[in-house]
Subunit: 194 residues, 2 copies
DNA sequence: GTCTATATGTTGATAGAC
DNA sequence: GTCTATCAACATATAGAC
């Protein structure tokens, strides 16, 4: 792997741990080079972080697209559950939740604005795709189409809320998988009867 | 107001903006004193931040207790809605969402552990109190007691998810109040039919 | 209680040798 | 492409005068 890729890979971990306050020396140390060498690949710290963020968002986007294709193979009723668990697992792996959290808290205003705009774009795109999945998966239910919008919104909220819980409980003993099951069952129970 | 209070008040804003990476000179400048003067009131940066966090969590706790008392005056069915809007408004005021977000992302491991433990304690306490409100407010519904637990869990998740959206959309044009109404109506619609 | 002066380390970034 | 050397600015923290 070339140095540039190596830098970006390590910045992923460092940004998750320290957010925008990660230092150039942190990066250099993790890669095994000296600080000035970094400037041969990037113009500065902001460019490195912004690149890492763009890659991570694109990665998640790609992951979601792959998942949406894959779930076509499963029975309609199972798809939403499968997708839910996949998304949670994506963020649970490594430090991804912390990474995404730090994205929205960057103290550099311009960088944060760009980042949040990127996240919103991605979410709106996902929102539309999810809506189609929902319409497909809940055809025999009495759910009106206008309600589907709200139910998709809730699907997002549930995931966001769950990720928040996972952050807060990161350092303490916690039966996560039971908790996740409970949440899904509640959600499914609620929308099935709606 | 004495200097110590003034420091803590300003640290509240600074921590919301910069998180753990706020600097002693940031604090000094905001209060209008020199850095060494801060050490006459606190042993160091960690103590200041930890104190500010404890105060904020206690403040929220107190706020919730006051709200729980106040809503007794409203009709049973309106209580949960009123409480929902109150909580959202609490966090929407000033930089409180950012403050709470930064709490869970402190790069100092020990401080973060203590902080998250504090948050969990507070939430567990709130959880129990909310459960009682729910049992009181949904007596004529066919909701079984075991379901109430899950519905309260969802009440929390919905709020957490909504706060996440508010963070992501902080810098862009966004019809927040419409969005909030939509979420509440969906939630209420779902649990009313359950 | 607040200050000046200072210690000691770290930050992001650049110049220029190899 | 990587390095050493260097920079000015900043960090947390302390000693000691007033």
């Amino acid at each position: 792997m070339d140095t540039k890729e190596e830098i970006l890979k390590n910045v992923n971990t460092l940004f998750a741990q320290k957010g925008y306050s990660l230092s150039m020396s942190d990066i250099a140390k993790s890669v095994g080079i000296k600080v000035p060498s970094i400037y041969n690949h990037f113009t500065g710290k902001d460019e490195i972080i912004w690149t890492a963020i763009q890659i991570e968002v694109a990665d998640f986007f790609e992951f979601m697209d792959m998942e949406l294709i894959q779930i076509n193979a499963t029975p309609s009723l199972e798809r939403l559950k499968l997708l839910f668990y996949s998304i949670i697992q994506y963020f649970a792996y490594g430090d991804k939740i912390q990474f995404w959290r730090n994205m929205s808290l960057i103290s550099n205003l311009e960088l944060r604005k760009n980042t949040n705009a990127l996240i919103c774009d991605m979410e709106n795109n996902m929102y539309k795709k999810l809506q189609m999945i929902f319409i497909e998966c809940l055809p025999d239910k009495k759910t009106e189409y206008e309600n589907i919008e709200d139910i998709v919104l809730f699907y997002f909220l549930m995931i966001k809320g769950l990720l928040d819980v996972m952050i807060t409980h990161q350092d303490i003993q916690f039966e996560l998988s039971t908790y996740i099951d409970k949440i899904w069952n509640t959600y499914w129970g609620l929308i099935s009867r709606a």
